[in-house]
Symmetry: C2
Subunit: 484 residues, 2 copies
């Protein structure tokens, strides 16, 4: 554990960007690296990623997905097989041109995403309908040369993620997979990370290059900017045709498979930090906290042994009931220093235990989310801690959801759109469905069409019958925002 | 599950190299990739790697190590900070020279290993003796341009591994860490992978470039060639000085840290395949098999429902007692086809269940390692399967250990050395300790000094008092072999 000379020195609502970076670095999640645009992830940050990974991996295995490994170098000829995909990614591809002292005859891309190399294998592995569906996931890193606007976990030249790739018998099967994954992602992000999202469709302009359509989960950060936290793509036969991924059906006819791909990245850690953190530092939802409760024994020298002993007894009880607990009985730091340290690191619950507490058969609990302090009886520790951790989890989600709801504005004119945009947040409005309006809005205001939400399309209110921008007939409710 | 038109078509002792490749590909562990020298790892192979990873990760966490993430791109100026390290790796480094359309001002290496980038961070994170020891592990891939003699899992341009990096207060602490890790590796490899090893020191010529010394685990493959399966390096202050990794000690004096690094890779999968496999395919040790037992219900159409039901009952019982079991009740394949398939994939134990077995309250077990078949009573299934899996694990290790012992020859002259070398295996002999003999042997015979074993140095037999090669006084017992 490193010593942090000081806590966070800026307020979240005064300088959000600087606050964010300070929390990342001072809470020990990540650090800058000697490579421009890349970060180093420290054990505390990695443990959070690993927890997310394990939770999602269980869900994916339960739904019949398996993990594999693909090389990170992709020959240019392979990357360029699907044209729009290649054109979309090529501006940010890192190219290997030399191996040792030898110039390569064909340059190799560091994978910006693995569709092309995965599908080269799929075309070998799939022969018959019996080989389908094929559902493989990869836990790896992707590399995209990001030189400006980099931000730890949000936009980096290399990032950890998972990318799932599937092949199906029919278009319908692929479409079902796209939604199955979107649902798994949404439960993970909302129930465990306590980050509320809006699920929906990306516009054609914003979809994954090479996809037929892209489903997305969009969340809203406290600075009023949107953050895309997960995507699930229906690829149709856009890749199976150039990559010749065919199967023999039961009538012995050759058919192209239908495909999907989907991913989440460590950007989710960024979403957690932004959504829940406060002026004292990180606040972690209990479901993904590497340490859910920290016990701080408070003692003078002559009482040390007894207080520590009692702290370890409590620790053992909590551990047995499945709570991730740490006992901070280090003698080289003061209690005050420890309180600051664990607040900075966002441990959901702190348990203070002093000689007097022992005498009175109680402990003191301090909630990280509300800063509430209260005494509970020693005998109820396990039950109380469990139920308070649940409350914290719920409270974090409720608070974030309220924030998202309060910062969702419905507008029906371009003027009110621009006014709302100035305040930040999601702007829900009616859109004609044409790219020219989308492009005009982007050019004039910098806002993107983030999502065409799944919910709320059925009954379009009266004032939203025409496009806010061009006044042609509205086709859809769409949500715009400035975005990361 | 892919259909394998045929099993292994060559015998292990006739064409070992071709046999190995067929097992890898036909058992569905890995496949060739469109990138020269790289492989694609299929779910079955990845699951074995993941099992090894989880087992080792638990050991590392218990001994106070934590995981982190480091970028894979290393600027040339950083990679070259430790001179011998740079010179050792530079012939096989992949260089990124372009990002998108832009030529980079400094080229970036794909990590061949991460010492340099990790230690750039260590120098920031370590300030005081309280920050030590710092013990961080990375699960990632490393890239080394291998163009010839590539072999799946054994030598590839990209490979999955873990690399641990630690910093300590004293030289002694670092030396203890080197041996702690060597012991963890040896237990993992011998007890769980059932691959016997010889632990010892590498010669200066063979040590890691940049290390003070390297400890190694060497195993012997059935074709008589040695395979290095793990290394643990004492780095001394060779990196802490150029990277300026210093701490303030308790007397407030600046000291350089003492360091170690160590790793194992997916090469261990290659060792498992080579060591245990046979003419029918893969044979997996139960401790690392993704599926430990497969139940094959055998039935005609009219009996299907009942036999399947009983098979699932047995499956549930086994699963509850912690055994990884699969029930293969697919109707589109014959029992014979299934037997071949699961033998090819090396499942340690097969359980056959037909209508007659049900009537007689028994099941048939078939051991993969010995091909023994025997009936056991239905009521003893859980106990029998557990104990037979243990026996299989022990038998595989015993068999491999016998093979290693039988192929270890002690020689005292260069002539007998050369004769033994022709037969393959480990050659134990007395060595003067000088590199000139090592180099002469390598040039004249192609054999390497694999390891100076920890055991057996105390009492050097009479006939081994002089170097087998130069006849100068012998300094050490050393083991030579042709190697992968």
């Amino acid at each position: 554990m490193r010593v942090h000379a000081s806590g966070i020195t800026v307020k979240k609502d005064v300088n959000f960007s600087e606050w964010y970076t300070q929390v990342i670095v001072k809470a020990g999640l990540a650090d800058y690296s000697p490579v421009k645009g890349s970060i180093v992830v420290r054990p505390y940050g990695y443990e959070i990623w690993n927890t997310i990974r394990n939770l999602l991996d269980d869900d994916l295995k339960e739904t019949g997905h398996q993990n594999g490994f693909m090389p990170m170098l992709i020959p240019e000829s392979l990357l360029s097989k699907e044209k729009s995909h290649f054109e979309g990614f090529t501006p940010e591809v890192y190219w290997v041109t030399k191996a040792g002292g030898t110039e390569l005859s064909e340059r190799l891309a560091l994978r910006p995403t693995s569709e092309t190399i995965v599908y080269a294998s799929f075309s070998k592995w799939i022969e018959s309908y019996r080989d389908l569906p094929l559902k493989i996931n990869f836990w790896n890193s992707a590399l995209r040369a990001e030189i400006k606007n980099t931000k730890p976990f949000i936009r980096n030249s290399e990032f950890l993620w998972q990318e799932g790739h599937t092949a199906h018998l029919s278009e319908k099967d692929a479409q079902i997979e796209v939604m199955l994954i979107l649902g798994i992602y949404q439960r993970l992000i909302e129930e465990l990370l306590a980050v509320p999202t809006i699920a929906g469709l990306k516009s054609d302009r914003e979809k994954f290059v090479g996809a037929v359509y892209t489903m997305t989960l969009e969340s809203l950060m406290p600075d009023g900017k949107a953050l895309q936290v997960a995507t699930s793509h229906h690829l149709g036969q856009n890749f199976s045709k150039p990559f010749e991924i065919r199967y023999l059906d039961q009538k012995n006819e050759q058919c192209f498979v239908w495909q999907t791909s989907w991913g989440i990245s460590w950007r989710l850690i960024g979403a957690i930090v932004m959504t829940h953190g406060d002026d004292k530092g990180l606040v972690l939802p209990p479901c993904i906290a590497p340490i859910q409760a920290v016990i701080v024994p408070i003692f003078r020298d002559d009482e040390a042994q007894n207080v520590k002993l009692r702290a370890h007894e409590i620790g053992d009880e909590l551990r047995k009931s499945g709570i991730k607990v740490l006992i901070d009985d280090r003698e080289e730091y003061t209690s005050g220093w420890k309180f600051n340290e664990w607040e900075l690191k966002g441990i959901p619950l702190r348990i203070n235990l002093g000689p007097r507490d022992i005498m009175e058969a109680q402990v003191e609990l301090v909630r990280r989310d509300t800063t509430q302090k209260f005494k509970i009886s020693r005998s109820s520790v396990v039950n109380s801690v469990s139920s308070i951790l649940k409350e914290i989890q719920e409270n974090l989600f409720r608070r974030a959801k309220e924030n998202m709801t309060q910062n969702m504005t419905v507008v029906d004119t371009y003027d009110s759109f621009k006014i709302s945009l100035g305040k930040g947040g999601f702007i829900s409005t009616a859109w004609c469905g044409n790219q020219d309006c989308e492009i005009r809005v982007k050019e004039e205001t910098g806002a993107d069409l983030r999502v065409i939400p799944l919910e709320g399309q059925e009954v379009i209110p009266n004032q939203l019958k025409v496009c806010f921008c061009c006044k042609r007939t509205a086709a859809k409710i769409a949500i715009f925002a400035h975005a990361y």
